[in-house]
């Protein structure tokens, strides 16, 4: 046994224990990418560094053994900065998307690639569930949205973007046309009252998502019909009133009450603020009354927190054009959804942070050499258009068009440690960005796993695993220094290279470089 100090706490540990395990056993988090329990350490990522108090030396805790008298600081400014720098160096050569560019661009942050995969398989209902997680009015938006997502679609570089907007419209319409449209599950009643002023896209979205959380929502609008700008500014030709009404009905169906035709003056506002547990202001632009409600203003609208939409420390949240005029229905609708997270957190007395958003790795445009690689997971063929302008796509067309998706999103979105730590340490992918980037390639020959070398951080876990399990070929390091790549010897395929432990390797890979094929794609 040896005695060491971790953050001034004396601990006695077995000789040969590695610092990381000692520190983790004390309940202190130490990030690491290249460490794999029970495998020989490799000391590659340097994300797990800690500091020796006396010398001030930074050392990798995953492979440093505890020695008598050591005095370790598990985390301080230096350590945090070193970890962040290590992550940023890794990010500078990590070429891959976390979330797909379309999803990042979508103001409502909808999981477009997942919707596409489900639609391509003809799972229209499942697709709708995915859409409605972020978009309360898919049929409406499917008709009027200018589709910023399609501008970001990587398929655009190859030929034309995937027709995302019409695909979403189909998911919505398919549900509306069904005998019984989908009723999402509503959480049990929290007893909390939320008033939402303004039944436009922002207010409708906020109400819908809050109601799903079990809060008692009341939508108040001075007009006699709900829809706000959707009724006033869009032609019947573009958006039939019936479609809007059907989707509003669905919002009512999850328990949102509507108080239409009631204008809110200062006194009414004060009363509402008192009687409700939370208040969402979604009055749209040109609502003159708002100036009188005593909310802090800036020239364009109400002043609220950019992430949480909360006004100061009050119970008032402001979204949509009341905040800053916007012509984009999808943007204000997205804000409505996001505010629901803040309000929900507020009502549950959690720290109010808004919708959780994780770090996203991004890279520039695809280059022609990469088109073929991306098409390996997709199909050839140009974008399908509806029979007539303004029409939707047919079911067959939807399945075919959705299959054009390149699936730019990473398979390991939720488990990728590079992403999680980059988020936790607020790493900046651009800090050490270089002018040249590695080309993306995809090795898809294996039935169970896929390997994308440009996402590899050279931690060597796969090399160690395949060697220990005696794969005939396995993975190996090829080359040296910055140019080192992990690959199968003699240019054998991944199918030949991994016959025994493909899934084990996929699960152990700390990033999305090696992942299970079936996982969400």
């Amino acid at each position: 046994m040896v005695k060491i100090k971790i953050d001034n706490i004396e601990v006695e540990v077995a000789e040969g224990s590695v610092l990381m395990e000692v520190i983790r056993d004390m309940g202190i988090d130490v990030p690491s990418m290249c460490y794999l329990k029970d495998e020989e350490h490799f000391t590659s990522c340097m994300v797990c560094v800690v500091k020796e108090r006396k010398s001030g030396k930074i050392m990798p805790s995953c492979s440093m053994e505890a020695a008598e008298g050591m005095d370790i600081i598990s985390s301080d400014e230096d350590v945090m900065e070193a970890r962040k720098s290590a992550l940023e160096l890794l990010l500078s050569e990590h070429v891959g998307d976390c979330e797909a560019p379309c999803q990042i661009t979508c103001p409502a942050h909808m999981d477009i690639p997942l919707m596409n995969r489900l639609l391509a398989e003809g799972k229209f209902h499942e697709a709708l569930v995915v859409v409605k997680k972020d978009i309360a009015l898919p049929s409406v938006l499917g008709r009027i949205c200018p589709a910023p997502c399609e501008g970001a679609c990587r398929r655009k570089s190859i030929d034309e973007p995937v027709s995302i907007c019409l695909l979403k419209r189909y998911a919505g319409d398919h549900d509306l046309e069904a005998d019984a449209s989908w009723k999402p599950e509503v959480a049990s009643d929290t007893g909390k009252k939320v008033s939402i002023i303004g039944a436009g896209p922002a207010g409708l979205a906020a109400a819908y998502h809050l109601a799903l959380q079990g809060h008692r929502c009341r939508l108040i609008d001075r007009n006699n019909i709900a829809g706000g700008s959707l009724c006033k500014e869009v032609s019947e030709e573009e958006l039939p009133a019936s479609v809007l009404q059907q989707e509003i009905d669905q919002i009512a169906a999850v328990g949102v009450e509507f108080s239409l035709g009631s204008a809110v003056n200062l006194a009414e506002f004060k009363k509402l603020q008192k009687s409700s547990d939370a208040l969402v202001v979604a009055t749209g632009k040109g609502e003159s009354g708002i100036a009188e409600w005593g909310l802090p203003m800036h020239p364009k609208g109400v002043e609220a927190d950019g992430n949480t939409y909360r006004v100061g420390e009050t119970n008032v949240f402001v979204v949509g054009s009341a905040l800053k005029p916007s012509k984009l229905a999808i943007r204000v609708l997205g804000q409505g959804k996001e505010s629901a997270f803040s309000v929900d957190q507020f009502l549950k007395e959690q720290p109010v942070k808004g919708e959780p958003r994780l770090f996203n790795s991004r890279f520039g445009k695809l280059v022609p050499a990469e088109y073929g690689e991306y098409l390996k997971e997709s199909v050839e063929g140009s974008r399908l258009e509806p029979a007539q302008k303004g029409d939707g796509l047919t079911a067959e067309q939807v399945m075919e068009e959705a299959a054009r998706c390149l699936h730019c999103d990473c398979r390991d979105l939720k488990s990728c440690r590079l992403r999680l730590y980059s988020d936790a340490y607020a790493a900046d992918q651009k800090r050490f960005k270089s002018e040249e980037r590695q080309l993306c390639t995809k090795q898809v020959q294996h039935d169970e796993m896929i390997y994308e070398p440009s996402k590899c951080i050279k931690c060597g876990i796969c090399v160690r695993l395949t060697a220990r399990h005696k794969e005939d070929f396995g993975f190996t390091f090829i080359g040296r220094g910055f140019d080192v790549v992990v690959g199968i010897p003699f240019n054998e395929s991944t199918a030949a290279g991994l016959k025994k432990v493909a899934l084990k390797v996929a699960d152990a890979c700390p990033t999305g470089a090696i992942s299970r094929k079936v996982e969400n794609k």
């Binding site: 560094v49 030396k57 070193a82 396995g474 910055f482």
Partner: protein, 780 residues
């Protein structure tokens, strides 16, 4: 060449099929086919314990190995520091143009030539150097690459060297010593040897021809020393084969009258000659008493290089006659292991490999480990560009190093030792192998050494070309047949080293000095040097200095003394700007800090490092940003790729430096560069990348204004290609040489008129400036 399965099987059978045999097996395959055919590698995996993942991983790690066939002849352009500052990059570019090779090509379509950059050919004083197969060309300029190739073509197949026959010893009238260090060989000492042999034969002289190791005066090579039996020795420098006849006859008269007569008749015009009348201006005899020679030699204290230029490297009798193995006898017969370690501790010697760890402490750590299985390793994987002292020591003093290693084995209780020598040093490998055989025959190795009862065996392991393997943990990984990835320390090799056993690993120079200490006692060593850094240090002095070479100086001597007194100051009337000490781990010490004493601590204080001992002198024509970039290019390409700071940090720093050198850098880049340098230094796993930022940090500290100038788009030294323009002044006489030399027709051919450079076309190859007889081509 067809791959014969039985050839591969034979190689495996001979060298072994264990995992750790992989590097020797790969070396043998490459030796046979001149590259590594995949078929051969697959066969190895079928019949041995070596796996595909291992063989591909290892083969692709070491730069010695090729996966495509190389050309018939290999052109090596030295990219060592000394060559770099003298324009090796331009020579490389010019050679590629001459061979019509594209950016990513290295072998001509005809398969005749393969061109490669090598880190150091160890002929820094002949910089820039190009080697084609075994022929070395020194002082090469860009405009000469064509000449070199045609010269090589004309020499091909014309070799057929005769074996030298020694004159009868009893009747020797004297001795002719020819340097056989790498510098000498590279500069043509083989030819000289043949010429001497020829002269002796023709004249029937009873003169002993003797090969000696490196004399250290590499700036004067090839050297021939004439030592008459009676009389003063004379040292001739920069000798050419054609001069040998006269030199020899100057000192030795042929035996018979008839012979003498016939000679006189044959050489009637040459009868009376003195130095001044010889045709070459760069040839003259040196008298050891001459001032500049004594300056070069007098301040030095040879310990590791004791008897340099005097003893034949491989002649064990001579070594013994000069007290060789006396130290070992003392150790084995009169001292207990603990006493040996005590003596080492008392001598104060610190590791000569760069880090300066006290050797006594290290030895004691190994000795204190339990068990009988321990190893001694001599680290001869010297790879610094511009450092070749290990090579010189291995080539010139093999017995001295062996002696040190045997003593170490005895002191720490290790029965086995390994010489780790890079395969790029074939002469060193051969010499050591020969010396080991002789030592075994004579009872200095093997069982019961010198009747002491102590058994010790030594083998040679050839490194396959990876600078990082100079790092001790990487070196051991490599012996174990793995990629040369360093491991975290602790555990230190002294506790858990090769094959998990306690291992004493010391640098070549350290072992050479251990021999000195064992022979002369700790006192003889520790009276030299400074309080914290005892003894001497061998340096490769090169660059813009008048007298370069290998020097061994007492620790504590100032940089100024080395540069000005030993080196004779900066050559060519330029201004002394800085010295780069310690190679890629070291730093640039500016001239105004040249009173810094050379010892471990003082160098660290000024941002440099002892490193392995490269000492390159820079003048005002050297761009410090370019120097930083040069070293980063080296460390980046030699980084093993294991840890994130080393792998990516060095790459990003290099990218920024390249941006700055091409005038595209910004203030923000400078900030990022400093930031990266800081974290790469702090966060890297081993000292290769941990010290890689030193050249940047030291130049930033002392020459920041040069970085800033580059950001403004100027290179004050006129070195960075993208920031300079060539112009022709009114001194032009219209000789057209520049126009003829220009590879891209950027200078129009206008006889008798002033020429002009079209800077749109100019590729800054510097050829015009070098050929201009009037110095009318200038850089702006």
């Amino acid at each position: 060449m067809e791959i014969e399965i039985r050839d591969i099987d034979g190689i495996v059978q001979q060298l072994g099929g264990k995992r750790h045999d992989v590097i020797p097996v790969l070396q043998a395959i490459q030796e046979k086919y001149n590259y590594l055919p995949e078929e051969a590698l697959r066969r190895v995996c079928e019949i041995s314990e070596i796996t595909p993942a291992q063989i591909v991983g290892v083969a692709s790690f070491y730069s010695q190995f090729r996966f495509t066939p190389a050309g018939e002849h290999i052109i090596k352009v030295c990219a060592g520091t000394a060559c770099h500052v003298k324009g090796a990059g331009l020579v490389y570019d010019a050679m590629k143009r001459e061979l019509e090779l594209g950016k990513d090509e290295d072998t001509t379509t005809s398969g005749t030539y393969t061109i490669e950059k090598v880190n150091c050919l160890g002929c820094c004083t002949l910089a820039p150097v190009v080697q084609i197969d075994e022929v070395t060309y020194g002082h090469v300029s860009t405009s000469q690459v064509g000449t070199i190739l045609s010269d090589f073509e004309s020499q091909k197949g014309a070799s057929g060297k005769k074996k030298f026959k020694l004159a009868d010893g009893s009747e020797v009238k004297g001795e002719i010593r020819i340097g056989l260090g790498s510098c000498c060989v590279a500069s043509g000492s083989d030819e000289i040897r043949d010429a001497v042999k020829d002269t002796i034969d023709r004249n029937d002289l009873n003169v002993k021809l003797k090969h000696v190791g490196c004399v250290g005066m590499c700036h004067q090579v090839p050297l021939v020393e004439i030592v008459p039996a009676n009389g003063e020795p004379t040292l001739y420098s920069k000798v050419k084969a054609a001069d040998v006849d006269q030199i020899v006859q100057e000192h030795f008269q042929p035996e018979g009258l008839l012979k003498r007569l016939s000679n006189k008749l044959l050489n009637v015009a040459d009868t009376i000659r003195d130095d001044s009348r010889w045709m070459g201006v760069d040839r003259y005899s040196l008298d050891i008493r001459e001032k500049h020679v004594s300056l070069f030699l007098d301040k030095q204290i040879p310990m590791a290089t004791e008897f340099r230029g005097v003893i034949n490297p491989i002649d064990i009798q001579e070594y013994k006659s000069r007290n060789g193995f006396r130290g070992l006898a003392r150790v084995l017969k009169k001292m207990k292991p603990a006493e040996v370690i005590e003596e080492i501790t008392e001598s104060g010697i610190r590791g000569r490999g760069g880090g300066g760890f006290p050797s006594g402490t290290k030895w004691k750590m190994v000795a204190d480990q339990p068990g009988d299985v321990k190893y001694i390793i001599c680290n001869g994987d010297e790879g610094d560009p511009g450092a070749f002292m290990d090579r010189m020591l291995l080539e010139s003093y093999p017995y001295r190093i062996i002696e040190g290693m045997v003593a170490a084995g005895y002191a720490v209780g290790a029965p086995e030792g390994i010489f780790y020598i890079r395969a790029e040093y074939p002469l060193a490998v051969t010499r050591i192998l020969q010396a080991l055989d002789i030592c075994r025959e004579q009872g200095y190795l093997g069982k019961d050494i010198m009747g002491s009862g102590f058994d010790f065996e030594l083998t040679v392991y050839q490194g396959a070309g990876a600078f990082v393997c100079g790092e001790e943990t990487a070196l051991m990984e490599s012996i174990e047949g793995k990629r040369g990835f360093p491991r975290i320390r602790p555990p230190y090799p002294a506790v858990k080293g090769l094959w998990g056993a306690p291992t004493l690993i010391n640098n070549t120079e350290t072992f050479a000095q251990i021999s000195y200490i064992m022979k002369n006692g700790a006192g003889a060593f520790n009276k030299v040097g400074t309080e914290s850094s005892r003894g001497t240090k061998v340096f490769a002095l090169a660059g813009k200095v008048a007298r370069g070479g290998l020097i061994e100086v007492p620790m504590g001597m100032t940089i100024r003394e080395v540069v000005e007194e030993i080196g004779g100051g900066v050559a060519g009337g330029r201004e002394f700007k800085a010295v780069q000490i310690g190679g890629p781990s070291g730093g640039c010490v500016p001239s105004w800090k040249s009173d810094t004493p050379i010892d471990f601590e003082s160098l660290k204080e000024v941002g440099a490092m002892m490193g392995s001992g490269g000492l390159v002198v820079l003048d005002d024509a050297d761009c410090m940003v370019d120097i930083a970039r040069y070293f980063l290019t080296f460390t980046q390409s030699e980084s093993c790729g294991k840890c994130s700071f080393g792998r990516i940090g060095t790459k990003r720093m290099l990218e920024i430096l390249e941006k700055i050198c091409t005038g595209k850098g910004t203030e923000k880049d400078l900030e990022n560069l400093e930031d990266l340098a800081h974290w790469t230094k702090k966060g890297s796993l081993c000292s290769l990348c941990g010290t890689a930022p030193n050249p940047i940090l030291s130049t930033l500290a002392y020459f920041r204004e040069e970085y800033e100038a580059h950001i403004r788009g100027e290179c004050p030294a006129g070195k960075c290609k993208d920031l300079i323009k060539y112009e022709i002044t009114d001194d032009c006489i219209g000789c057209t040489l520049c126009a003829q030399d220009c590879p891209v027709d950027a200078i129009a051919f206008k006889p008798h008129e002033k020429h002009e450079v079209d800077n749109e076309l100019c590729i800054q190859c510097d050829g015009c400036r070098q050929v201009c007889p009037e110095n009318a081509v200038i850089v702006r």
